[in-house]
C-alpha cells in the first residue's frame, strides 16, 4: 500500500542546479501572463458562455478570475518549494508520492489534448469565415463535428483536424522562436481585442442586456446547467496558462513581492478586457443569437454591425493568436508524457528523444494524431467542458498540497510563500469545487471514465515499471 505513495528524493533533483538568472521584474511577468492568458477562450468560448449565462457572463469571467488568483498564489508556493525548475507533476512526485503524481500528470494530458482540440475548433471557425470572405467555400459537412449547431448537418471538422497535424509536425521537428516573435504575438492579440472593442462599443443597445441574468446563479434549463456559475466553469478555460507566471519564481527578482503582483496584474488586466468585451458582445447582439456562431462568436457581432473589413482583421488576429496557443498546448502535451515515460509510468515509446531534432518525436505524433481526431469528431460543447475539469482537479490537489506541506514540512525552504495560508488555499479549493459543480453531470461522468482509464494504466503498467527505487524493498 505504501508503495502507492512512494516519493522521489529531492536530492536527485537538485544535483545539477540549472543556471537560470534572476532577470524578470513585475512588468515582465505581467506581460508573460497576459501573453499566456489572452487568445484562447475569448475568441472561442464567449458564445457558449453567453448562451449559458446571458449578459451576466461578465460576472462569470470575474468569478473565474478570482478562482485563478487564489489558485495561482498556491501554485506559486508549490512551484518554489523545490529549488529547481520542474513541473507540477515532478513536484507532486516529491511531495505526495507516485499515485497523486500520476493523477496530476493524467489530468494535465487531458487538459492539453482537449485544450488544443478546443482551440483548433475555434481556429477552424475563424478560418472558414476568412476563406468565405475571399470567396472560397468549404463544404458545410466538413466544417464542424456532428451536432455542433442545431439544424445544420455537419460531420467532420476538416480545418481543425489539419491544423493540429501541421502543428504537430512543426513541434516534432523542433521550433525556435525569438523573443521578438513572442512579444509580437502578444501585442497582435491585445491589439485585435482593443480594436474590436473600440469599433463595436458604439453599436450597444442596452435593451439587449435585459434580462441581464436570465438563468440566475445556477439553474437547470433545457436539460443543461445554466447560469453564472456554470458559465464561469466554461470560461475558466480563458485563463488557463496564467500560472506560467507562477513557475518563474526562480527567474524573478525578489519573488515574494514580484510574483503576486505579476499574477494579480496580469489577471486584472485580462479580466477587465474580458468583461468589457463580453458586455460589448452581449450588448450588440441578443445573447440567444450566439447559438448560430458557437465556434466563432465574435463574428456574430461583426455580422450584426456589418463591418466585414473588421471581421477580416479580427479573423486574422484570432487565427494567429490561436495558432500560438495550439502550439503551446501540444508542446506541453508532448513534454508531460515525456516526463511520465521517463519515470516509467508510461511506456518508453513516449520518452524517446530524437537525436537530430532534440524532441520527443514519437510521443508528439502519437498524441498529435489523437488530438487531431478529437478535434475533428467531438463537438465544442463536449470538449470545452471536459478540458476544464482536469485543470480544476489539478489545482485542488496543488492547493491541498500547500496546506498539507505547511503542516508536515514547515521547515522546507520556500522561494515564495503564499500570503494568508490557510485561508488562501481553502478559498482556492472552494472556488475550484464550485466551478466543477457548475459543469454538467455528463462531464463528471466522462471525467470519471478518464480517471478510471488512467488508474487501469497505472495499476496495469506504471506501478510495476516505475523507475523509482523503493527503499523499503517491499
Amino acid at each position: 500500500m505504501s508503495s502507492l505513495f512512494r516519493k522521489k528524493d529531492i536530492n536527485d533533483l537538485v544535483k545539477h542546479a540549472s543556471p537560470l538568472k534572476r532577470t524578470l521584474k513585475t512588468w515582465d511577468l505581467t506581460f508573460l501572463g497576459i501573453g499566456a492568458i489572452i487568445g484562447t477562450g475569448i475568441f472561442v468560448l464567449t458564445g457558449k458562455g453567453a448562451l449559458t449565462a446571458g449578459p451576466a457572463l461578465a460576472l462569470s469571467f470575474f468569478m473565474a478570475a478570482i478562482c485563478c488568483g487564489f489558485a495561482g498564489l498556491c501554485y506559486a508556493e508549490f512551484a518554489s518549494m523545490a529549488p529547481v525548475a520542474g513541473s507540477a507533476y515532478t513536484y507532486s512526485y516529491i511531495a505526495f508520492g507516485e499515485i497523486i503524481a500520476f493523477i496530476i500528470g493524467w489530468d494535465l494530458i487531458l487538459e492539453y489534448a482537449l485544450g488544443a482540440a478546443t482551440v483548433s475548433v475555434g481556429w477552424s471557425g475563424y478560418f472558414v469565415n476568412l476563406l468565405s470572405n475571399m470567396g472560397i467555400r468549404i463544404p458545410t459537412l466538413l466544417t464542424a463535428a456532428i451536432g455542433t449547431t442545431p439544424g445544420v448537418n455537419t460531420i467532420f471538422n476538416l480545418p481543425a483536424f489539419l491544423i493540429i497535424l501541421v502543428i504537430t509536425w512543426i513541434i516534432s521537428i523542433g521550433i525556435t522562436q525569438t523573443k521578438r516573435v513572442n512579444d509580437t504575438m502578444v501585442l497582435v492579440k491585445l491589439a485585435v481585442i482593443v480594436l474590436f472593442i473600440i469599433c463595436t462599443i458604439w453599436f450597444i443597445k442596452p435593451q439587449n442586456w435585459h434580462p441581464f441574468s436570465p438563468f440566475g446563479w445556477y439553474s437547470y434549463h433545457n436539460g443543461t446547467a445554466s447560469g453564472i456559475i456554470p458559465a464561469a466553469s466554461i470560461v475558466f478555460f480563458s485563463f488557463i496558462g496564467f500560472d506560467a507566471v507562477s513557475s518563474s519564481a526562480e527567474e524573478t527578482i525578489n519573488p515574494s513581492k514580484t510574483l503576486p503582483r505579476g499574477i494579480l496584474l496580469s489577471l486584472l488586466i485580462s479580466t477587465i478586457l474580458y468583461i468589457i468585451m463580453t458586455l460589448t458582445m452581449t450588448g450588440v447582439v441578443k445573447y440567444t443569437i450566439f447559438i448560430k456562431y458557437l465556434n466563432a462568436p465574435i463574428l456574430a457581432v461583426l455580422a450584426k454591425t456589418g463591418q466585414t473589413w473588421l471581421s477580416i482583421i479580427v479573423s486574422v488576429g484570432a487565427i494567429l493568436g490561436m495558432t500560438t496557443v495550439i502550439l503551446v498546448q501540444l508542446y506541453g502535451q508532448s513534454r508531460i508524457s515525456y516526463s511520465m515515460s521517463r519515470d516509467g509510468l508510461f511506456p518508453k515509446f513516449f520518452g524517446q528523444v530524437d537525436q537530430k531534432h532534440q524532441t520527443p518525436f514519437k510521443g508528439t505524433w502519437f498524441f498529435g494524431i489523437i488530438t487531431a481526431l478529437a478535434s475533428g469528431f467531438i463537438n465544442l460543447n463536449i470538449l470545452s467542458e471536459l478540458v476544464n475539469i482536469g485543470t480544476l482537479t489539478a489545482f485542488i490537489l496543488v492547493s491541498a498540497g500547500v496546506l498539507l506541506m505547511r503542516r508536515t514540512h514547515p521547515e522546507i525552504h520556500r522561494g515564495f510563500r503564499a500570503p494568508g495560508v490557510p485561508i488562501t488555499p481553502i478559498i482556492a479549493i472552494i472556488f475550484c469545487i464550485t466551478l466543477i459543480a457548475g459543469l454538467n453531470w455528463e462531464t463528471w461522468l466522462r471525467f470519471v471514465v478518464w480517471l478510471a482509464i488512467g488508474m487501469a494504466i497505472y495499476f496495469g503498467y506504471g506501478r510495476r515499471h516505475a523507475t523509482i527505487k523503493d527503499k523499503k524493498g517491499e
Binding site: 521537428i173 500560472d243 506560467a244 532534440q358
Partner: protein, 142 residues
C-alpha cells in the same frame, strides 16, 4: 588586432564539431582563451501551465553536461585555456548577444547547421541569426 576570446557553439552536429576543431587551432596559434558552450533551447513562448516543459529541459541539460566533457578534455590535451558552459535559454539570443557580451568574446565560430529548406523556414537559421545580430566577428565553418 588579434582575437583573445574565441567562442564555439556546439550542438552535436558534424558541422559544429568541425567548428570546434577550427576553434582549437585558432586559439592555439593566437594563444586565445577558448569558450565552448552548448545551449539547451528553451522557448519562452512555449511556457505553459504547471511548468510541464521544465523536466524536459532539465534532462537535456544533464545529458549535455556529460556530452560536453570529451570536448573539454580534447581542448585541454592540446594545452588550451578552455572554459566550458552548458546553458538553458533562447539559443539565438544567447549565442548572438548575452554570452559574448558578458564574456567579452571577440570571435564566434559556428558550424553551418545542416537543416533543410522547410526546417529553415520554421526555425530560421541559427548561424544566420548570429551573423546578423552579433556585435563581434563571426566565422561560419562549412
Amino acid at each position: 588586432m588579434t582575437y583573445k576570446r574565441i567562442l564555439v557553439g556546439l550542438d552535436g552536429s558534424e558541422q559544429a564539431d568541425r567548428a570546434f576543431k577550427v576553434g582549437c587551432d585558432l586559439s592555439k596559434s593566437l594563444s586565445a582563451t577558448l569558450y565552448i558552450i552548448w545551449i539547451v533551447n528553451r522557448d519562452r513562448g512555449m511556457d505553459s501551465s504547471f511548468g510541464v516543459n521544465e523536466d524536459f529541459y532539465r534532462d537535456l541539460y544533464n545529458q549535455i553536461t556529460q556530452r560536453i566533457k570529451p570536448y573539454v578534455d580534447q581542448a585541454q590535451a592540446q594545452k588550451l585555456n578552455v572554459v566550458s558552459k552548458v546553458l538553458v535559454g533562447n539559443i539565438k539570443v544567447i549565442l548572438a548577444k548575452e554570452f559574448p557580451q558578458e564574456n567579452q568574446i571577440d570571435l564566434i565560430i559556428l558550424g553551418n547547421t545542416g537543416i533543410n529548406v522547410v526546417e529553415k523556414m520554421i526555425q530560421g537559421s541559427h548561424s544566420g541569426y548570429v551573423v546578423r545580430h552579433s556585435s563581434c566577428d563571426v566565422l561560419i565553418v562549412k
